[in-house]
Symmetry: C2
């Protein structure tokens, strides 16, 4: 289907709703009518057509179809009435010249290579030009070595190996996906002296353990491989050669050799079919309990000469262009306040689910906003829609754009709303906690297509049912269960990393949200594989893209409500409550770690590990690390208490705002407009200055997973106790600055 | 090896130690020397020879070698100086005439049959006369029906099926082993209207999920099948036709049709190789989470016409003889106080691990006691060694013997010590809690061969290491962890069922212990299969039978210490502390169940299950059962408090006992000798009068697993609230009777 025909198909809809919208606009009092008019433009049929077109050929960075998708979107944005342009950056983006994987001992078996076609899925027969299984920013190399299974390849796994006297020096580690971000696995392997790294999707986590493998169901088949980036984005995301600055044509660049986020050892992702061929031959103690996965064999640590693998990767390390599509709808009354909304458009192969399910929802929103504009409506604030390129290799498009426009964004951006792949199921919302009520209010007004209840009520039902069944993941923190039961606001979760909000939130401090639906359907079984196709999405992940439309309606409300009205509707008490919870967690972390350290010291003293050791799996004591000292967190506790008082006073003042004189209102708004940026500390986090937000960061040892109050929390976890004390003070300082500003806003409104 | 040559081989040892023992005996002051002399007789070499001989042919009930083993033991006991005899009973014991299992839809695949030979294991090539995979006391029948996977086949699994609208009426259920006793699976299937039942060993629980499958390791291979009994031993164990009375030749018998412990539907056990052939073809919603096992496929509930299986079983239901070997060594000073010690000798196939690892340890003890006797030593009390037949089909030999001699045992038996299969690893001790300190004291004096520490210290180390790793199974109740850390007595666990202590403890109230070692080695991967062989035991389960010797030394100490000295060394405070913990658990159970009932009521009212339901797996609310009422447990709490006071007073009085006049000592001993029998209530438990102990019983819905304070606990769980109130009173009454007796003993010593 061509773009033109799609535009024609929806022209009727626009004219149908024009009358009602024209009445409503631009009066804010009739925001509901605007939202109804917006909803009327959202079409799953549109989304299906765009999805089919955009996923019709491989669209990874530097592929022809990736650029074509950007240009297609540019044309559409313009057609819909946006000021649109493509912004290009030159980034280091490696592409494979050759990838080799073979078992060589005890026998020669060729492994790896492109995923085979599946008859039911037409696109899988059409893999010319597609990226083979590959990990971007691995280190290239050619090694033949024995293999050590390292479970998830996280620090506790290396401790388990060390307790057994197994080391990975000069060997190839075989890690399964999960337990932490992909990129940490080869990074930790490299730090432990490994010569290479393989990562496979274990069927317990991502395969028949969860659902029927494709094509019978949406689960990962034994031939499916998860591609991905292994850039060290816990140091900084974006182009590895231009940390902190935009990767414009003339930017000053590091060399590949000096760029710290690029790996030094070769690495490849493999299927569980291939992993089984290696693992069934490994020797050494059998692994019981949580360190084993779901393959139909006893898991062994390996590390002996019984198994050797040849792994070789060679890449083209040239600079390549990426294409961000940026579309602007200027604000009528507050043009210098920007609401930014983004999703990426690059995939790993066809990218139908990731990212295009989110991308076509964004396009629906842009089309609907364009239609509203055509009726005469204008947003108060400027709306910026961004279709990022290069998210997959390392948040390249968003990071370079944010770094390039950092000063302007710091002055103007009041909110960033991100989406990424989307599916059938339940609302997931993560972000800055002063936006928690804002998200809940929108979720209350969006209908779930399967139950005809609000998406908020369906989420509550799911949390309650999960709590009853004992499967609710957030059971340790009862706030979600309590809220679901009482009908209060559902807590949103903290943002770590893994999508394009990172530079906005963690580098600049712009309040951010990440919104999506999921938990049913294919469940990620095609993630980053050649089977992430139009067929897979429409058969399993979100048939008819019903939840694509829901996502558009949910995010569209957030955009409209943030762009219109006197202020971005933050509620500071929610942030204060959440920060207090984080402070309690960090205190408990220190206490628990101290208790565990003492226990380990005593167990080691009493030779308990040796006495309990099974001769079939001789295990010595874990390496002792001393006892965590008492850490004085009074300043942080005081700051959280003060924040609670200031936030409640500010929320009360905001309620009174409509009764104030316009000048006082403006004065209050000005004070609050960039308050979230006060959570930034210019020095950044210890060892990673690019990450400057002292409340939200991705964990250095979780990758995607958030670490809140990261300066303190990670310093305790990583036993940098001087840092912990220093960041108690620094974190208290940013929280106090935030409280100061709240107090100033209250005073401005007096 | 013949019996004569084995006796010759150990003759030298006996003469070597004769001098020292002769000096020591019969003075109790030199008990240590007696134990050293006893230890000197314990020989793993003996045990290996006996094991090889006794496991050289199939030895299930009614097999020629089962009888030959009894007669061989009889000869040995006599040779060792015991008064030994064989006691025979006539029991209903079915043997298979034919077993048929085949997949018929979607295609015909023959399943089932005898386990194939494994080249490494010579006995597996020698299966003539061996029992094929079979479940004793299944109901016979010939059915062809569709298949429903029921996970463990326990009540909560049927609730999960009901919530999905899947019923098993007229179908064949396929259950995996685990989660409750084997016999409950076909029983519950039958109660839900199933036409047949298959039980398989899932590799997650018993196969490559734990260890390398045989013969690479000791784990269950895909061809291994767990035979077993499905008699309803939660109603009563023993011969189904003679509940409560001995199955002597002239006993009054029920008919097969009226015997309530025999199933009405056909059932067979199968391998996971066969189970996979059925399960890979099942349809219906995919099962995630805890209800799936370790097969390399997505689990489905099934129940559709896509899969049909033909199951047919025909058995010979004639009476067969069983042969208990009973050996007596009369007590010198208290011949009418009996210490009874037993293990069974019948297996399912070769029975090398189960039961012969325990049986050969018992034989070592009997030989060593015989050697002591030959030096002139005599026990104060009478020692009775029993080698039971027919344990596997339903504790037949022990139950019929206890029922036959019930009056005499009630008058004379002061302790029963049981063992069963034994392996390498850690001490496991279960039993009457007034014996807890007695067990700990012995465990402190027995050396673990792998660490040269005491078996008690190695157990403590294992519990501490497990607590640190988060794998200690008893973590909910911290008493084991606390004791391991502090160096206090390790708690023993309560006895449920599953071995020959049941009639002693639960029918008569004789204080009982069950002792074994395990947790390393083969880990049960040959359990009840054709691969439970001499090769498997000596290769994986307990190489060299090192722990066979340890078991003999541990149990030998218990026998010697119980048989000598002024009284069986009970400590009543341990029992009181444990009962108080059980009372707290039962109170918490009622409160938790009430809370969960309320939650379910509210979730159902709010339609939460329907709203949260995934259309791929539509799930309705679990069936509501009303809200558990408040249950007044004051009488039980009072009884526990009183027991604590009386027990501590009694323990203090016992410490003073050596200072008393002999008449007062005797008076005290007489009061305490049968005190455990006061825990018997003549009416028995609701619906199962054979089980009369109101502190210890097997659960009606756990089978092997103990339910303590069962009259109250199970009444709450099963929502028989009137029974709960009635058994609060009855349980308080037996505890008060116990306290009365303690008080009387204290007074007797004044």
């Amino acid at each position: 289907m061509t773009i033109a025909s799609r535009l024609l198909a929806t022209a009727a809809l626009i004219s149908l709703t024009t009358a009602g919208v024209a009445q409503a606009a631009p009066a804010h009092s009739d925001a509901k009518a605007i939202e109804r008019a917006f909803d009327a433009q959202i079409s799953s049929t549109d989304q299906l057509a765009w999805l089919k077109d955009m996923s019709s050929a491989p669209n990874h960075v530097s592929s022809p179809h990736d650029r074509a998708n950007a240009e297609m979107q540019l044309a559409l944005f313009k057609q819909w009435g946006w000021n649109a342009r493509i912004e290009t950056f030159q980034v280091l983006y490696p592409t494979p010249i050759s990838t080799t994987l073979e078992l060589v001992v005890p026998e020669r078996v060729v492994l790896g290579g492109q995923e085979p076609a599946v008859p039911e899925d037409p696109s899988s027969a059409n893999l010319q030009g597609a990226l083979p299984p590959y990990l971007a920013y691995q280190g290239d190399g050619d090694v033949t070595a024995s293999v050590v299974y390292v479970n998830y390849g996280m620090p506790d796994d290396y401790e388990a190996l060390a307790a057994r006297g197994i080391n990975v020096k000069g060997k190839i580690v075989l890690a399964r996906y999960g337990g932490g971000w992909r990129g940490l696995k080869p990074k930790l392997a490299q730090e432990h002296g490994a010569a290479g790294c393989l990562i496979y999707s274990d069927p317990a986590d991502d395969g028949y353990g969860e659902r029927d493998p494709f094509p019978r169901g949406g689960g990962r088949p034994e031939t499916g491989v998860q591609r991905g980036s292994v850039q060290d984005l816990t140091q900084y995301p974006g182009d590895p050669l231009t940390p902190g600055i935009g990767a414009t044509a003339d930017a000053k660049r590091l060399t590949r050799e000096t760029a710290p986020t690029i790996l030094k050892i070769p690495a490849l992702p493999i299927s569980y079919g291939d992993a089984a061929k290696i693992m069934s031959r490994l020797e050494g103690p059998v692994i019981g309990g949580r360190a084993r996965g779901g393959l139909a064999l006893a898991y062994h640590w390996g590390g002996t000469d019984a198994v050797k693998v040849h792994l070789a990767v060679k890449s083209d390390w040239s600079l390549k262009p990426i294409y961000d599509v940026i579309a602007v709808m200027p604000g009528a009354t507050r043009p210098d306040e920007w609401v930014v909304r983004g999703n990426h458009h690059d995939g790993w192969v066809f990218g139908a689910s990731d990212p295009l399910t989110g991308q076509v929802a964004l396009m629906s929103e842009a089309k609907a906003l364009g239609a509203l504009k055509r009726t005469g409506w204008r947003p108060d604030r400027t709306i910026v829609y961004a279709s990022w390129d290069g998210e997959e290799p390392g948040l390249l498009g968003s990071t370079e754009w944010v770094e390039t426009h950092a000063d302007e964004l710091a002055r103007k951006a009041v909110l960033y709303i991100n989406t990424d792949n989307n599916g059938r199921g339940f609302l997931s919302a993560e972000g800055s906690h002063d936006l928690q009520h804002f998200v809940n209010a929108a979720a209350r007004d969006v209908t779930d297509p399967q139950t005809s209840m609000s998406v908020l009520d369906r989420l509550r039902a799911n949390v309650r049912a999960g709590a009853y069944a004992g499967t609710e993941r957030r059971a340790e923190d009862t706030s979600a269960i309590d809220a679901a039961k009482s009908g209060g606001d559902m807590p949103i979760e903290a943002l770590g990393s893994g999508s394009d909000y990172s530079a906005f939130l963690q580098h600049l401090g712009i309040p951010s949200l990440n919104i999506g639906f999921g938990g049913e359907g294919g469940g990620g079984g095609s993630y980053h594989s050649a089977y992430d196709s139009y067929y897979h999405v429409t058969k399993f992940d979100d048939p008819g893209l019903a939840y694509g439309a829901v996502l558009s309606k949910m995010v569209g409300r957030l955009v409209l409500r943030a762009a219109d009205g006197p202020r971005v509707p933050a509620r500071y008490g929610d942030f204060a409550t959440t920060v207090s919870r984080y402070v309690s967690q960090v205190k408990k972390l220190a206490t628990d770690q101290r208790d565990k350290d003492r226990a380990l010291r005593d167990l080691t003293r009493d030779d308990v590990f040796k006495l309990a050791s099974n001769p079939d799996d001789p295990t010595s004591a874990p390496e002792g690390k001393g006892v965590t000292p008492l850490i004085d967190m009074l300043a942080l506790e005081d700051a959280a208490d003060r924040l609670t008082r200031s936030a409640h006073a500010a929320d009360a003042a905001i309620e009174r705002m409509p009764t104030l004189l316009p000048a006082a209102q403006t004065h209050m708004q000005t004070k609050l407009r960039d308050i979230d940026q006060l959570l930034i500390d210019r020095a950044g986090l210890p060892g990673r200055p690019w990450f400057r937000n002292l409340v939200y960061a991705p964990g250095t040892l979780t990758g995607y997973g958030a670490k809140t109050l990261p300066g303190v929390r990670e310093a305790i976890e990583q036993r940098r106790f001087a840092d912990a004390t220093a960041y108690v003070a620094r974190t208290a300082a940013v929280l106090n600055a935030y409280s100061d500003r709240l107090d100033a806003a209250v005073n401005a409104g007096k």
